[in-house]
């Protein structure tokens, strides 16, 4: 019993000592942190004028001078953060002058050394900063680091840095190839990274969709979705017949958005497509491009088995002038009594109501008059509808 109490007391002593030791460690860390924050704040006041100097003369002909005061490690870190922000916020001469200043401040060499010799976390931090400063000579080391990196969020930090530092398309392609090895659909994220590279993005995306690999095609299509040049339409046309449904649909979307004219055979092919989303997109594209020569095709689409296609086609015909409106009313009259006929009838009446509220807009007024005229003529309602002049 006596022995047990002694052991318990010793154990308590050990616990107390450990508690004190941990408390000392925690407080030391806290004090260190506070000290660093205070130093950074003091430095921010100190460098405020120097940063103003950078901002004012960032686009001038004269090179930016180094700070007129020496910088210690913490100050250098705070300065690096500010310079990163400036580089990310500006383009052209401003960005280049700031990158050159980073080099003269020794920040580039410092991070290159950290990337070579540091621990894992130091390497990731160095990769991030080298990316911000667009240090091209860091690309080989960054690619090497990316090769052996496992899949976690840091992988993308390195990949983005490579894109920012890329010397040419080859560097970006290599980076994409490595990231794709992780076999996950990061397509949008990769496109976002690629857009950070100082290369012709459109050309690279176009090159990607020429490849056999589905993953590269997906990245290319994600990248091209905001392009509206007709050349893009011809680039993606081949993929409209891809066996992969997702690729096919994305290609169709880009094609219809970037094309200025759709040949009849393509229109017919697209309107026979089994996916109703594709048929809807086609009908909408005909209406957007005001291709009145396809009124007959739109008329047939009114009776499509999918209600979405029929609806899009009816709304599209309204945009194709007098001819389109006449066809819409004619089909509605022909299909009177059927579910589709009633639906078209209701849609026309809704449109008349909505257009009658916009007499100040000349286009809408013309459309209103035309619709009312054909509505009366074909659907022959008794109640009088006045034309607005």
């Amino acid at each position: 019993m006596y022995i047990n109490i002694e052991v318990a007391i010793r154990f308590l002593y050990v616990l107390i000592v450990l508690n004190v030791a941990f408390a000392v460690v925690v407080y030391a860390m806290k004090i260190k942190n506070l000290k660093r924050t205070r130093t950074e704040r003091r430095f921010e006041v100190k460098i405020k004028d120097y940063l103003t100097y950078i901002l004012i003369h960032i686009e001038g002909k004269e090179p930016l001078n180094l700070p007129p005061f020496p910088l210690n490690k913490a100050e250098q870190k705070a300065m690096q953060e500010r310079l990163n922000d400036i580089i990310e916020s500006f383009t052209g001469t401003a960005r280049e002058k700031c990158m050159e200043l980073c080099r003269r401040l020794g920040l580039v060499q410092d991070h290159l050394d950290r990337l070579k010799k540091g621990s894992y976390s130091v390497k990731i931090d160095a990769a991030y900063h080298l990316g911000c400063m667009r240090v091209q000579e860091a690309v080989p080391a960054l690619l090497k680091l990316l090769q052996t990196h496992k899949r976690n969020s840091s992988l993308f930090v390195i990949a983005r840095s490579i894109a920012k530092c890329a010397r040419d398309e080859q560097d970006v392609q290599e980076m994409v190839q490595i990231v794709l090895r992780h076999n996950k659909g990061f397509y949008d994220l990769l496109v976002d990274m690629i857009k950070e590279a100082d290369i012709d993005h459109g050309a690279l995306f176009a090159e990607f969709i020429q490849r056999e690999s589905h993953e590269f095609i997906q990245i290319g299509l994600c990248g091209l979705k905001d392009y509206t040049e007709p050349t893009v339409a011809s680039t993606v046309y081949r993929l409209i017949e891809s066996p992969d449904r997702t690729i096919q649909y994305k290609a169709m979307e880009i094609y219809l958005k970037s094309v200025h004219f759709i040949p009849r055979n393509v229109v017919q092919k697209l309107l026979r497509h089994p996916m109703d989303e594709v048929r809807v997109l086609t009908v909408q594209a005909i209406a957007d491009l005001k291709l009145a020569r396809y009124i007959d095709v739109m008329r047939s689409a009114l009776l499509d088995e999918s209600k979405r296609v029929s609806d899009a086609s009816a709304k599209g015909l309204l945009l194709l002038g007098e001819g389109g409106i006449a066809q819409l009313c004619e089909v509605a009259a022909e299909a009177r009594g059927s579910e589709r006929g009633e639906y078209l009838h209701m849609l026309i009446e809704e449109q008349i109501k909505s257009l009658s509220l916009q007499p100040h807009d000349l286009d809408q007024l013309t459309r209103y008059n035309s619709l009312v005229y054909h509505y009366e003529k074909t659907l022959g309602k008794n109640k009088r509808i006045y034309r607005v002049v």
């Binding site: 100097y53 003369h57 007129p68 905001d226």
Partner: protein
């Protein structure tokens, strides 16, 4: 008996004016820094001069200190605005370490900052004297009065600060706002000639701000959108809301400056 009252401000104004005229006659430009200081002695003057000359050997530096108004005047022969600004950083660092600085430093370069007339130099000097007791920042002096006003609405401090500095140097009066509501309040109160806005703003977004401005004042060409949003849809929506122009980030200041000039007619 004649009573002679010595007017230090006038004397120093004329002296500065003479220095500037001589300097601009010798080289293309002349930089001037004014710093409110106390207890400057010949030794510290010599030290400051040596430091400034050492930092930029192409500049010929002259320092004048007037005990009565307690302002240190540095005249830099050949000093462009950039060079003079940098020299002011060196001077400020020196004066602060010696605990001599008592207010804001004023920087100017002639003819870049305007025409060096007697009234302009007197106003320059007055600003330096009046800045005594304020934080030791560096400010620029421009002889032209700001006629065109611009409001910048952007939550990013760096972008706001940058545009503000650049436009102030070009002679614009600049107001700032961090969110859409603040921007609208400033707009209603001060009616600036032009608004530069980000689309992603807190409280009222950019589109709502543009529409509110258009409702309040339907004069066209009031708003430039400056955003990192590059999608075509957002661009059309901004134009539909009433924006006069659209500039994307990362920012090219020359592009923005030209667009501002075009819209304000400030050529």
């Amino acid at each position: 008996m004649a009573v002679v009252i010595r007017n230090s401000i006038q004397e120093i104004t004329l002296q500065l004016l003479q220095y500037i005229h001589v300097a601009t006659a010798k080289s293309a430009s002349c930089g001037v820094i004014l710093a409110p200081c106390a207890h400057m002695n010949p030794k510290t003057l010599e030290q400051a001069k040596g430091l400034m000359s050492k930092n930029d050997t192409s500049l010929s530096v002259q320092l004048v200190y007037d005990d009565a108004i307690q302002v240190l005047c540095a005249v830099l022969e050949g000093g462009t605005l950039g060079g003079t600004h940098y020299a002011s950083l060196v001077l400020k660092d020196f004066l602060q370490t010696q605990h001599l600085l008592q207010g804001q430093l004023r920087v100017s370069s002639f003819p870049e900052s305007g025409k060096p007339t007697e009234s302009a130099i007197a106003a320059f000097l007055q600003q330096a004297i009046q800045s005594k007791g304020n934080d030791a920042d560096i400010h620029f002096f421009m002889t032209a009065n700001a006629e065109t006003s611009v409001l910048i609405a952007d939550p990013d401090d760096l972008v706001r600060e940058f545009i503000k500095i650049r436009l102030e140097l070009k002679g614009y009066r600049v107001y700032e706002a961090k969110d859409g509501q603040e921007a609208y309040d400033v707009f209603v109160r001060l009616l600036p000639d032009l608004v530069i806005t980000e689309l992603n703003l807190p409280i009222l977004d950019g589109y709502q701000l543009i529409r509110s401005i258009q409702r309040h004042d339907s004069n066209e060409g009031k708003v430039i959108v400056l955003t990192d949003n590059q999608l075509a849809g957002n661009r059309s929506r901004a134009y539909e809301s009433g924006a006069a122009d659209y500039v994307t980030k990362p920012l090219s200041i020359s592009e923005l400056e030209w667009k501002i000039k075009r819209l304000t007619g400030n050529h």
